[in-house]
């Protein structure tokens, strides 16, 4: 125990050094009005969304100024968030993933509980569960939900006389027909490795449909990806590659390349997140908006199709926000979950799915991408993605899916390797597997 003394001293020295270099996040506001600083990711869609929200709030509350600060998206951003929370340097509010990434922030210790706020009842239950711990609720939704599904080009389907597939075999038959017509059947973009995970993660509705309660058993270490029904996602990835359905430059192409191929009618399918595609199409290919549709990743087991759905990011207040700042922050959060705020969000960005707040409806002119999803929501054929149901997510999934999707490793090996990979996460969480 003696050893810990100098260590804490060292940690204190490091923290002091950090404090010296860190730029003060929270503005004090001074006499006149309050200034709130919000920490968001730097993707163009996020910046546009927050610019809109900032202006709209300033109009209604002239004495509160919202300042937006950005951090890189992805794991680099995760580290910045964790470091700021750990050193008490977090901005007044921050906007961050719900689900397993939210759980990794140690919410009970770091965040201000919001369970007693008035607006909580107006939030969809799917969302409240993914921003809550056993103790309390900590986040408010900003943004819309979205799905991980197959984005397809409707013109190609019409030209070739194809129908939206409901089983995996029909999907593969369509792929063959598209390939025979000299087009790219399935766009894949392993230059951006994260995109390779979608076929596996987006298949989760089918997993849960075939084996209800899979996610919970998975958290307990009782289900594995190496076994069916979860293995199917990996197998499908391999089958698409083995069939020669992918674009020639799949290994180096990036996400934007695939959206371009889809919008310009060179590729027919792209398994992707609808939120991302809706915003890229809105920005770069507005003419193609009605050309692109969505169907769920088909199952090889049954023809009961359903969408795997992702929840929007949450708005959180760190414990370091106190006093008048905290009151102003809570007031701002309450405004963010009003229909007014949803209207601004729908206007400034191209949403990829429905909102999760009561009274927030999508505008009538949503692109086909989103209106194709509505029937699944109406009939209740949707399920949350695994990351919202289980804290277990291995860091190497994207490398493994790249390998399986490029024919470097077989589906069985890949799934088994991923099962090894998640053991690290279980250990970090202190689960006894």
């Amino acid at each position: 125990m003696n050893r810990t003394r100098p260590l804490t001293a060292g940690a204190a020295a490091v923290a002091a050094a950090l404090a010296l270099t860190a730029c003060g996040g929270s503005g004090d506001g001074g006499g006149e009005g309050t200034s709130l600083s919000v920490y968001i990711d730097s993707s163009p869609a996020s910046v546009a969304l927050w610019d809109g929200l900032k202006d709209a709030y300033a109009e209604e509350n002239p004495d509160v100024t919202i300042e937006v600060e950005t951090h890189p998206a992805g794991s680099e951003g995760d580290n910045l968030i964790k470091t700021r929370l750990a050193t008490g340097e977090m901005n007044d509010l921050f906007w961050y993933n719900s689900g397993s990434l939210f759980q990794a922030l140690n919410p009970d210790q770091n965040l201000v509980p919001l369970g007693d706020e008035d607006w909580v009842d107006s939030i969809d239950d799917n969302f409240t569960t993914v921003v809550s711990t056993d103790t309390d609720l900590y986040g408010a939704p900003v943004g819309a939900s979205f799905a991980g599904a197959v984005i397809y080009n409707k013109t190609i389907y019409a030209d070739l006389g194809l129908e939206v597939p409901t089983t995996w075999d029909e999907y593969m038959a369509n792929n063959q027909a598209i390939k025979d017509a000299g087009l790219v059947a399935v766009a894949q973009t392993y230059g951006d490795t994260w995109t390779s995970q979608v076929p596996v993660l987006g298949d989760f509705y089918n997993v849960e449909a075939a084996d209800p309660g899979w996610a919970e058993a998975y958290t307990q270490g009782e289900r594995k990806y190496a076994d069916q029904p979860a293995l199917a996602g990996f197998e499908h990835l391999q089958e698409v590659f083995d069939g020669g359905f992918v674009n020639e430059d799949f290994a180096s192409a990036v996400y934007d390349d695939a959206v371009k191929m889809l919008a310009e009618g060179e590729a027919a399918h792209y398994p992707m997140l609808t939120g991302n595609v809706a915003s890229s199409v809105g920005e770069n290919y507005p003419d193609a908006a009605d050309d692109l549709g969505v169907f769920p990743l088909p199952s090889s087991e049954s023809d009961d199709n359903g969408l795997t759905v992702w929840m929007p990011n949450g708005m959180y207040i760190p414990k370091s926000t106190e006093g008048a700042q905290l009151d102003a922050a809570k007031e701002f959060v309450a405004w963010l979950v009003t229909p007014d705020s949803c209207a601004v969000q729908a206007e400034t960005t191209d949403v990829g799915g429905p909102f999760v707040v009561d009274g927030c409806d999508l505008p009538d002119d949503v692109p086909a991408l989103v209106s194709d999803m509505q029937p699944y929501f109406d009939s209740g054929d949707t399920g949350l993605a695994l990351e919202f149901l289980s804290p277990i997510k291995g860091p190497a999934l994207e490398q493994i899916t790249v390998e399986v999707g490029s024919g470097i490793r077989s589906a069985e090996d890949g799934a088994a390797l991923y099962d090894e990979d998640v053991v690290k996460q279980a250990q970090q969480l202190g689960l006894d597997w």
């Binding site: 392993y190 290994a251 860091p395 390998e403 996460q425």
Partner: protein, 308 residues
Amino acid sequence: MTLVHPTLERTTERPARRQTRRAGARSPYPTWFFVPAGVFYLALFVVPTGASFWFALTRWDLYSAEFIGLDNFQQFFREPALVKGFVNTFVYAFLTSGAKVVLGLALAVLLTSQIIARGWLRSVVFFPVLVSTIGVGVMFKVLLDPFDGAVNTVLSWVGVTGPGWLTDPSLALFSVAMVDVWKGVGLATLIYIAGLVAIPQEYYEAARVDGASAWQNFRSITLPLVRPATVTVVLLSLIGGLRSFDLIWTMTRGGPGFSSDVIGSVIYKQYQAGFYGLSTAGNVVLFVVIAVIIFPLSRWLNRKEVPL
């Protein structure tokens, strides 16, 4: 970057400490002159190094650390990408180190001979050393793109279909190693030029009188007498190769899949995933591995130095 400190610090620390102790007896300066530097050294190097040995034994999420014994090390050695990472690290280190010795010496011999535009050529060879590694990585990633990259475009003019330099799993590591050599050979050349210039001309004159050929000159005079330069080049490039990370991360991120993963990128990915204790354990392992390789190698190479 965090990977660098423990090793560099260790390697420089030992001789420095020995010197201060020896000099301490006769030094005209009072001991407290060393206090400011000592405080910095303690706070910025010794304490973090000690702390990392402690955190390697904990489940650490930046908020709290729970002691879990050697679990992290056990988990680290079970890492599926680890074996591949180790093999790649050694292949990369020895390949780049070897290539830098051979090419560096050849270039140095060329650039110390009487050729036109010698000064200009010397700066051209050295120039890549001055460019930022990240910049080099990004530039070559564009040049080596399998479809629109300049390299494969040029190859297609002569009817050759270039491979996917960075996307073919069996080629990716070697492509990055090639770029590393391009970037680092200038420094090796510079060290060799200094070594070659230091060889007294009398030896060559004497050899010429005895009728030695150019090859004999090189084999019997140049090669043995540039040994100190060779030792420096081997050590520097081997250490650099073993802890290589930045170039690989910029060009391939260890991919495709895990095919160009090195120890540095395996550890970095664990850190990114929030496994702070586990990745710290990985750094401790890396520190030990580099020390185990470099110390005996450095001893052995330095002992065989030829006295001039």
